[in-house]
Symmetry: C2
Subunit: 325 residues, 2 copies
Amino acid sequence: MATIHDVAQQAGVSVTTVSRVLNNRGYISEATRKKVFETMDALNYQPNEIARSLLRKQSNIIGLIIPNVSHPFFSELASQVEYYAYENGCKVLLCNSQLDPAKERDYIEMLKRNRVDGIIMGSHTLEVEEYVSLRSPIVTIDRRIGEKIPFISSDNYRGGVLATELLIRKGCRKLAHICGNLELDLLANSRSEGFRDTADKHGIEHMTIQTDMNVFDQEQYARIIQELLDQHPDVDGIFATSDIIAAFAVKGCVKIGRRVPDEMRIIGYDDVSAAAWLTPAITTVQQPIAEIGRLAVELIRRQLDGEPYEVDNTLPVELIERATT
Amino acid sequence: MATIHDVAQQAGVSVTTVSRVLNNRGYISEATRKKVFETMDALNYQPNEIARSLLRKQSNIIGLIIPNVSHPFFSELASQVEYYAYENGCKVLLCNSQLDPAKERDYIEMLKRNRVDGIIMGSHTLEVEEYVSLRSPIVTIDRRIGEKIPFISSDNYRGGVLATELLIRKGCRKLAHICGNLELDLLANSRSEGFRDTADKHGIEHMTIQTDMNVFDQEQYARIIQELLDQHPDVDGIFATSDIIAAFAVKGCVKIGRRVPDEMRIIGYDDVSAAAWLTPAITTVQQPIAEIGRLAVELIRRQLDGEPYEVDNTLPVELIERATT
DNA sequence: TATCATATGTCAACCCTTTGACATGTCATT
DNA sequence: AATGACATGTCAAAGGGTTGACATATGATA
């Protein structure tokens, strides 16, 4: 790989001149500028960003830690983060924690060693203290880990309320709620509170079922649904904490001949694009995924630039009624 | 951020000693090693990977360029690539080209400037020459761009044959095939050849419909399906080039009351996990996504280490029969 | 006692680029 | 003739870490 020295030599100018051309500073004649650019082309020169980063103490890399990109919600989030990072001249380092604390810790250290500009944390298996030692800008998705550390989440409680109210309004008599592991300290857990409070308020019988993990485990989802339908045949409304789980609920119902939505109403959460192209299309609580991604990148940038920022970024949710209610 | 100098000073040893501890070379007493590690802990020191990369001329970063991670096939691929990269001590830089040549070119240059160890190319909007100027190891997914550049693809032709034969065996009389943009020079295009040849061989009437782009555009998919069902009511079998398109086909049929699979048989491609949790579950041609990811990382590593490698990595496909045929 | 493995230190070069300080020279304007 | 904008050059330091050459010192072994 050619260096700036090679370019300078080939072009018959000094290294300083090439650097000046490259960084657009000082006086440079058109002729020289042209000659330098031509030489760079000829040598297929690309400035070594690593050397630049070392000097600038900035890598222009954002670390994105999530449970797994293969989960539709996180894949859409990653897509948005990448989009806005690119708009801001940043790159995205993709880190799947698989919700394994060791891997998550490992990735955090790796990101520190690589002096990333900031970390977007969408995986939360560690204790709060472990994140706090990080000096670099952080933004968390769906968890609050400190007074000053900005977090982004959808209005989970309201999402829970909206979903539950819809089920009740549609005439459901007994509700089931399938959520993630409530022991993880996530803001998503307030969906469950919203569910419980609303069902209680309306005097509707209800139950909550936890899944072991947040990572996408198809077999587990299928099993849980089957058990639910088996053991609680009187349940006629399900509020699932993700569209994928809702899809499995639909599948489980179809399998045993329970008609959706007539005999069973199902509502998901997230509004990933699959929710719309599934048959039947899934009623869901929409999180503004694009906005979450945009905001995450912006909050990193603001911290980096020392601009003021909101700590609590709770975004509105919207009920999207489709075919499963 | 603490530097190696700070650690040395604090620990009362020389920089060289710290470096020796860090890199496990030369003689170091247990006492010194311990003291150094303690000091690193106390100072929350993390060696600057940027400085190391500069020296080593290796970043341990793999660039992954794909149309968009939000597409299920690519999100699953990205997940696998990340998994195997991590196993090999590498990081993954996520690049969505959106199938925009300018963005793809931009990302390629960015990756060169960042001296990545290798590039996995899953987006192919540029001319072959533009890739060849890259010196760094490349692996392409689903496109052949040079004699020496390794590519990975599933056995697309056979996939097309298998899918078409199944439809014919099930009794379909007129087939439609929905594929991506055939003008992109992709190996996936041979799925279409497999389709055509097989239908011709059996004397079955058939048609092929191209989508504009490969990127996930829901509205376009829905429109194309609707037009197909509208204008060709006699088509009773659809071979879609992705499971997502197949899902839209199912949706379109349900909408107009065409029963699947009785009145219309549909088969997809990829076997993304959604294919299994959709209702009805989609019959599809399975690509070995995990193996593609594993191999992609391995081929980068082999090129880097100067080990021999296969150029043609065509992997077997498997027909997965589910509920839409 | 000579030798050697062990343990640590000093010093300098190197990876590639940026940047500031300073020098030199040309040409046009006042 | 003096001034100033323009154009380019030289030189050196800095960013953080690695590495090889070489020096020195200790304690154990032959």
